[in-house]
């Protein structure tokens, strides 16, 4: 039986993990990259130091911008927080069954992206518009893949509820190596890279404003607003990696009615899984270069194809 206490504990643990851990994840990934490239690196704590520095600055908004610009960072951060609270990261218990749904999660994350794109457009600068246009192009190409992958994963369970999907996979671990699951995992992994603006889609470390996608969109933000956006992008990456881990490697996740100890253990295992995934992603980036912008749709078309194969496989093999 799901008790309110357990739900509260699980939500609290997940939010604390994401809030505190997301910048550390970014720092860890940068450090892995630096070490693999033979550089010393700034240390795992650097993103937190950057956030502290930005948060202390005076908030400034460009002339001519309105409430859309000021609201966008809050919406972006809030949507990630809601997602962090409801997705099954440490336990399959879904406190808000209606929101702990793949469609809802995807829509929430898209809402954050759209808010930032609108904020970019609100500045009226060429860069804001350029970044927003590129971000929307990527988003439009990513959405079909996500929907297809969800469809493939939910067919077995008969539900798009994340808790249900994760529970089913946890009960039947061999499902993970089925073609359905493998194709869907590959498709979602590519989508995660695109959604979070990593190489080869976008380069989060670049200073070249003309090549940016995500960074061009948020170029006019400064101070605490920028800190919020930086945190939200780190958290988005953390949540998406956590979700990938829960969907395709749900071992160690706390089941319904698990005690506090189980939730604590699940939190520890989650941290390890996300750290491993992040390190793998960072290591992969070392060997990748950024694609020409017009090649990005080709890669995303490939991921869509894999999602489509996952659906076909679920029909023929399921």
């Amino acid at each position: 039986m799901i008790t309110p206490v357990q739900v509260a504990v699980q939500i609290t643990v997940q939010i604390v993990l994401v809030v505190a851990g997301a910048p550390l994840l970014t720092g860890m990934m940068r450090q892995v990259r630096a070490r693999l490239e033979g550089r010393a690196g700034a240390g795992v704590l650097q993103p937190w130091r950057d956030l502290r520095k930005l948060a202390r600055k005076e908030p400034i908004t460009p002339q001519g911008t309105g409430w859309v610009f000021r609201l966008a960072p809050l919406v972006a951060a809030a949507t990630v927080l809601v997602v962090a609270a409801v997705v099954p990261l440490t336990g399959t218990t879904s406190p808000l069954a209606g929101v702990g749904d793949l469609f809802a999660v995807v829509a929430l994350l898209a809402l954050g992206s759209v808010a930032l794109a609108l904020g970019g457009l609100d500045t009226g600068t060429a860069f804001g518009g350029m970044g927003a246009s590129r971000e929307m192009t990527v988003l439009a190409l990513v959405e079909p893949t996500i929907l297809m992958s969800i469809f493939a994963l939910s067919v077995r369970v008969g539900s798009t509820n994340l808790g249900a999907i994760v529970t089913r996979t946890a009960e039947d671990p061999l499902d993970v190596v089925s073609p359905v699951s493998l194709f869907a995992a590959a498709a979602l992994a590519i989508v995660t890279i695109a959604e979070t603006g990593r190489i080869p889609m976008d380069n989060p470390a670049t200073h070249l404003e003309l090549t940016m996608i995500h960074e061009a969109m948020v170029l006019e933000y400064a101070g605490p607003d920028l800190a919020l956006i930086e945190w939200a992008s780190a958290a988005r990456l953390g949540v998406l990696l956590g979700l990938l881990a829960s969907l395709f490697a749900p071992w160690g996740i706390a089941g319904v009615g698990a005690g506090l100890a189980a939730v604590a253990l699940a939190a520890l295992i989650l941290v390890i899984k996300v750290a491993v995934l992040g390190a793998l992603l960072a290591a992969g980036e070392v060997f990748m270069a950024k694609l020409r912008l017009f090649r990005v749709p080709e890669l995303l078309a490939g991921s869509f194809l894999m999602a489509l194969l996952a659906v076909s496989a679920s029909f023929f093999l399921g």
Binding site: R33, L36, E37, G38, R39, A126, F127, G129, M130, I199, P200, N203, A205, T206, H207, L208, E209, L210, T211, V286, F287, M288, A289, K290, L291, R292, L293, F294, R295
Partner: protein, 485 residues
């Protein structure tokens, strides 16, 4: 060879020289007591020929017939001359301002004798609008002059449909330092530190061209071992800049690991520079009449660096995504490269076989391959520079024997002019100096290859996409400081 001519003869004489294989290397104006003198320097290779056409103009309303119709670089030199001296090019098809800062007061010409101290900004010369590109979906992206990274100031105006560049206009000229004016009245020795600082990454190239010009003006014979030492420093400068840019090009396509390793190789080269001259960027090596070398580079170190650089280049081009980003990006055709008068690796990557080390030698280097490619894209510029690294190391090994600190017994003489030509890492650098009877400098004209190469960048980018601009720009890697003196 110096030919005094009348304004009416200029166009025919210049056309004759250009048809005879010369290129316009430099145009230098100079104010004198009774008017202006304008010198057009033409240079040709194989054998090394230099011809100066000299015009004298009256003090009131000075004007020259424009050569813009027969030479594109001439049109730019004329605009520069008009902005700095107030000499009007008659019949210029595009007599717009070039060097002039928007806020310089009307009628103020900084290179004139009566220019005085820098005036306050004000009374601008009127609007200078960008050409508007119209059509469905066309919009403008203004970039700069303040950029996100550590880049010199330049304003770029993209007219774009979707991501495709329809037109790019580069407006530079935000860093006028009056460096040519600062030379006036200095002794040649006092001018050398200025020449070293024309463009921070081209210390040796500019110092060498300046010293060669002074030595030509004063008739100084520089010892052979000193010339070899200078050639060695020139190659060291080429090496560290080429290695840096190979890494920077990889970084621009987010292939950071090669950037990190190019940075490592660059650091080794800078330490060698410090051993050889006492300065990581090679300042103080070239001296008037000679060269000062504290040590010579170790051939084994250089061989290791050559292997490292070759491996970095091979890894970059072996990566399918990097190769895809480089190939076919920002193509500068041979015809365009020729018409614009481009120099250096930009010209060589577009199939023009130009290298002042061979064409205007100051020391015999023996036979060496001049790297050329015909494609004119980012890949070609990358490959040319890769090949030049190997050639440079080969040349340094040749020069090690017989290069040593040495200086001409005396550098003196007066009242004449001289030209120095050196192949810096970006391309051919030309300095022309004029000395007064007391031996002080009355006029120094500096031409960095960037002056010729900047117009090629927008031409190469026609039809490219906006996100490829930084990569294309880096593949040209032109100097703002050397361009805007």
């Amino acid at each position: 060879m110096i030919v005094d001519i009348q304004p009416g003869e200029l166009i025919d004489q210049a056309a004759g020289l250009l048809d005879g294989g010369h290129r316009l290397a430099l145009v230098s104006a100079q104010q004198e007591a009774d008017g202006f003198t304008v010198v057009y320097l033409f240079a040709a290779a194989g054998p090394d020929r230099r011809t100066e056409l000299r015009l004298r103009l009256a003090a009131a309303e000075p004007a020259v017939p424009s050569l813009a119709a027969i030479s594109f670089p001439a049109g730019r030199f004329e605009r520069e001359m008009r902005d700095l001296f107030g000499i009007t090019p008659l019949g210029h098809p595009r007599p717009r301002r070039l060097v002039r800062h928007h806020h310089w007061p009307r009628g103020w010409y900084p290179m004139r004798a009566d220019a005085g101290p820098t005036p306050a900004f004000g009374d601008p010369e009127g609007p200078y609008p960008f050409v508007t590109v119209e059509g469905p979906g066309v919009y403008e992206i203004p970039v700069g002059p303040v950029h996100a990274g550590l880049i010199e100031p330049g304003h770029f105006r993209f007219s774009v449909v979707g991501e495709t560049i329809l037109k790019l206009k580069a407006r530079l000229w935000f860093v006028h330092k009056g460096i040519e004016k600062l030379f006036e009245g200095r002794t040649p020795a006092e001018g050398l530190p200025l020449a070293e600082r024309v463009s921070g990454d081209t210390t040796v190239g500019h110092a060498l061209a300046y010293c060669l010009a002074i030595e030509a003006a004063t008739g100084t014979d520089v010892p052979q071992q000193a010339q070899r030492g200078r050639a060695l420093l020139l190659e060291l400068e080429r090496l560290y800049n080429h290695v840096t840019d190979l890494g920077a090009l990889c970084n621009d396509v987010a292939y950071g690991i090669l950037h990190a390793h190019a940075g490592r190789v660059r650091e080794r080269l800078l330490r060698i520079n410090a051993q050889v001259t006492g300065h990581r960027l090679l300042r103080g090596g070239i001296t008037l009449g000679g060269v000062t070398l504290r040590a010579l580079p170790d051939p084994d170190d250089l061989a290791a660096i050559a292997a490292d650089a070759a491996e970095i280049a091979a890894l970059a081009l072996g990566h399918t995504v990097v190769a895809d980003r480089f190939t076919g990006t920002a193509i500068l055709t041979t015809q365009a490269a020729h018409d614009l008068g481009t120099l250096g690796y930009v010209a060589r990557a577009s199939g023009l076989d130009r290298d002042a080390r061979r064409d205007h030698p100051f020391v015999d280097l023996g036979d060496f391959p001049v790297a050329t490619k015909i494609d004119g894209d980012v890949l070609a510029r990358f490959q040319v520079r890769t090949d030049e690294i190997a050639t440079s190391i080969d040349l340094i090994n040749r020069l090690l024997g017989g290069a040593s600190s040495s200086i001409a017994p005396s550098v003196g003489g007066s009242g004449s002019s001289g030209v120095g030509i050196a192949e810096g890492w970006r391309g051919t650098i030309v300095h022309r100096v004029q000395l007064e009877t007391g031996g002080r400098l009355v006029r120094v004209k500096i031409v960095d290859p960037s002056f010729f190469n900047w117009p090629a960048l927008p031409v190469a980018l026609g039809g490219a996409i906006v996100p490829d601009f930084p990569l294309a720009n880096k593949s040209f890697n032109l100097s703002y400081a050397g361009n805007d003196l």
